[in-house]
Subunit: 466 residues, 2 copies
């Protein structure tokens, strides 16, 4: 049996041959324009330094909605609109405080931060003995006898010898997300989770957690501790198993509030009903200013439409930039966008997300069938001058995920990941850690792929109409 | 005619087939060991934070010689030694001072630093009118009439839309290196050169310059100005062509002093006379602590020998780490090493340099013939799990350059280059801008290539003895 994708390539190759030079030229213009007259960096400057952290339901998040809507309107697109969505509202309260008590009067202060979604400690804080575990498995092995009345300290580090850091994150994040829910079942009074950080430093890293269907009166407070704090706590526990840990946090859940996805669109000239989405998430955690996660992805996505326009390209298909609200602690914006798309019977052929930081782009990962993957990888040589080499099957992005189905090709930008978890969800996710060129190269790389997808279509459509 | 490299591949491929798994295993061990028990980062911490900038002839440079010799000795190599070499000694003196004088009493201070090798200004500083040029060509067009008595301001920026930043550097650095010599020929009294920096910031970037064979009494002082300072000066000149520029620097050239290349060696078990060199340069500019340029390359090169040992690999060929002295302003160490090698009739089959920063490694560039390039690129698949994709013909490194000839294969590590010129030769080339993982990945990538070269040899030798 001849592979279907080969047949398609046989049809496409001559086409590609003819327009290779045109494509090379277009990519060159895109990269040059991004690096010489790009707007992504100044947009990010505003989002990060004038607005700051943009947690769902916060005033900053609303400011970010307004700012990006205005900026998209200034690009003279065919349509810019806000898509309403109800989002959770959780607030951190006053700065958390924690210490290790070796003996009464003998304490070491450590840096912690409440995990997103956690309840507060009692007003005067929470102090208890600590049991250190390497994860949810060990928790179960220990059982209620060893855990009841204690603070569970999840200390499994991210695995440093994994090359792609998102894999190391995936190998640890269950402690953060489900640690409190599971520990509560065995009678723990609180949980402290080692920050998802490959470095040893003093920054605690927040992130979402869930109590699952635990009843409200069974819920226990959960905080992240910096990696240096975790090392200290672990080594002191080895010396004194009876030490106590104290932490205090005043976080709170409020009723859901109304917020928005921000959407801008250029109508396709030939296939207006085929929709290509490119986006990032506008909300961020509150500790830093959300520059890498995911201010970068938002401004790069906005830049895609600007660069296509500036280089004089007229899209054949409809291209939408979507700045999703509430990726971090609910994914409500992403679900709303997909829900509305379904209701309207929209034909989403392709969706690309940038949510892995504003670092040097290395390529993309694709969630699609073999035929589409073959077509896309046939474009690899066009990207070589820009050192874009990574084209692999894999995940895409949390926000574009809900669009999956009906042959939609999903993709995620893959920047260099080595520094990402130094900053992720922490106080040091700030503007000065984003390099202008790296951000702009990412925007150009995304724009180049969107251009090629728009021009050649995806396989389902291009065979018939492309 | 059948390409010679094909024939060699025909011989090699079955060999490669057999040991593919062994090579995969060895590379995995190298990377794991570098990321979990690497020493490169703590060595760099010492070099950068305990010693600091290491300009040739300085006390710090001598401390660095001693420190790295001791550390190499602790690795239990077959031999560690110092290779004496006379190096230039230039000192910056007190911090430079400069301002733009729009009118008497109306001044803007700007950040400048003396270029390495420059003479001082007169003791009270130098003040003169300014003529802005885009480079050496424009200088010649303007001629003596327009230049005499003035300060020449070289303001050609690095080209931002060049993807590989070293190319952009290459397109500008003639202003810095030869700017004073050329301007002096037309009667200029001093030169100010825009810093070789792709960002707009306040750091002046030093670097070497030369007066060529200009007589001593014709030499004029040369300084670099920060990119923001350059933009300010240029825009003020556009408003007031008659403004004056003042700068003061007290730098000085002393007679040459004795210094050393630091060398460590493991003797080959099978072909001890075939020498593989891996190195970086131990000297650095004085403004920062020389972490990226080139502390990183030094500790990575030391780590190559340590990782081979730690993973239990016994080299067939002799492997040397060389920490070259005086790359920045003389290349005396590199020339000495090559000179001694020649005197002794040593057979250098391969030399690798790391001198492009401690950023995420992307691959290598090779200065070699087609046959060797074919052999090396046949190893590309082994590097794929580590996201190493860049194998191109091109330059190698300044320090290994003098070994060229007699079929020696030269190579340079190619890390991601986007951030390099943010720090290069400036006050902000400091330890906190080096990421531990990125540094360690670079060391592992170098070690992997050295392992493969050691095992399979280069083409000249492997055909006969490999």
């Amino acid at each position: 049996m001849i592979n279907k994708s080969y047949l398609i390539l046989l049809i496409l190759v001559p086409l590609l041959g003819i327009s290779q030079t045109e494509d090379e030229k277009q990519l060159k213009e895109i990269y040059t324009s991004s690096l010489t007259e790009g707007k992504s960096y100044s947009w990010l400057d505003y989002l990060s330094n004038k607005i700051g952290g943009r947690l769902s339901g916060s005033f900053n998040a609303e400011q970010a909605v307004e700012y990006t809507k205005n900026e998209l309107e200034s690009l003279d697109l065919d349509r810019v609109w806000l898509q309403p969505v109800m989002v959770p509202k959780w607030t951190r309260g006053i700065k958390e405080y924690a210490y290790i008590e070796n003996a009464p009067g003998n304490t070491n202060a450590v840096n912690v931060c409440a995990l997103g979604g956690s309840i507060a400690t009692p007003e005067g804080g929470l102090k208890a003995n600590v049991i250190e575990v390497q994860g949810l498995e060990e928790l179960k092995e220990l059982g209620e006898e060893k855990i009841k009345g204690k603070i569970v300290f999840y200390n499994r580090p991210m695995q440093v010898d994994v090359i792609q850091t998102f894999e190391a994150y995936g190998g640890c994040v269950d402690q953060r997300y489900s640690g409190a829910e599971e520990a509560a079942k065995y009678g723990a009074v609180g949980v402290i989770v080692r920050s998802m950080n490959l470095r040893l430093d003093e920054f605690p890293h927040t992130g979402s957690m869930s109590y699952g269907d635990l009843p409200v009166n069974k819920r226990i407070p959960a905080a992240a501790i910096s990696t240096k704090g975790a090392e200290l706590l672990s080594s002191l526990l080895a010396l004194n198993n009876d030490l106590k840990f104290y932490f205090r946090q005043t976080c709170k859940v409020f009723p859901d509030v109304k917020s928005y996805n921000v959407i801008g669109e250029v109508k396709g000239s030939t296939f207006p009903n085929e929709i290509i989405t490119v986006g990032g998430h506008l909300d961020s955690w509150d500790l830093g200013d959300g520059s890498h996660d995911d201010g970068a992805g938002c401004v790069q996505s906005m830049e895609v439409l600007r660069l296509l326009k500036q280089t004089g390209y007229k899209p054949k298909r409809t291209i939408r930039v979507v700045l999703f609200m509430n990726e971090e602690n609910g994914l409500r914006g992403a679900n709303k966008y997909a829900e509305v798309a379904k209701e309207k019977g929209e034909n989403h052929i392709f969706a690309l997300e940038s949510d892995a930081g504003g670092f040097t782009p290395r390529g993309f990962s694709f969630d699609c069938d073999d035929a589409n993957f073959s077509q896309i990888t046939s474009w690899k040589p066009l990207f070589k001058p820009y050192l874009i080499h990574f084209f692999e099957k894999g995940g895409s992005g949390a926000d574009v995920g809900p669009l999956k189905g009906d042959g939609t090709v999903l993709a995620g930008l893959r920047p260099d990941s080595q520094r990402y978890f130094d900053h992720h969800h922490a106080e040091n996710d700030t503007f000065e850690h984003v390099n202008k060129r790296e951000l702009e190269l990412g925007a150009a790389t995304m724009t180049s792929l969107i251009y090629l997808i728009d021009k050649y279509g995806t396989i389902n459509t291009s065979k018939i109409k492309g």
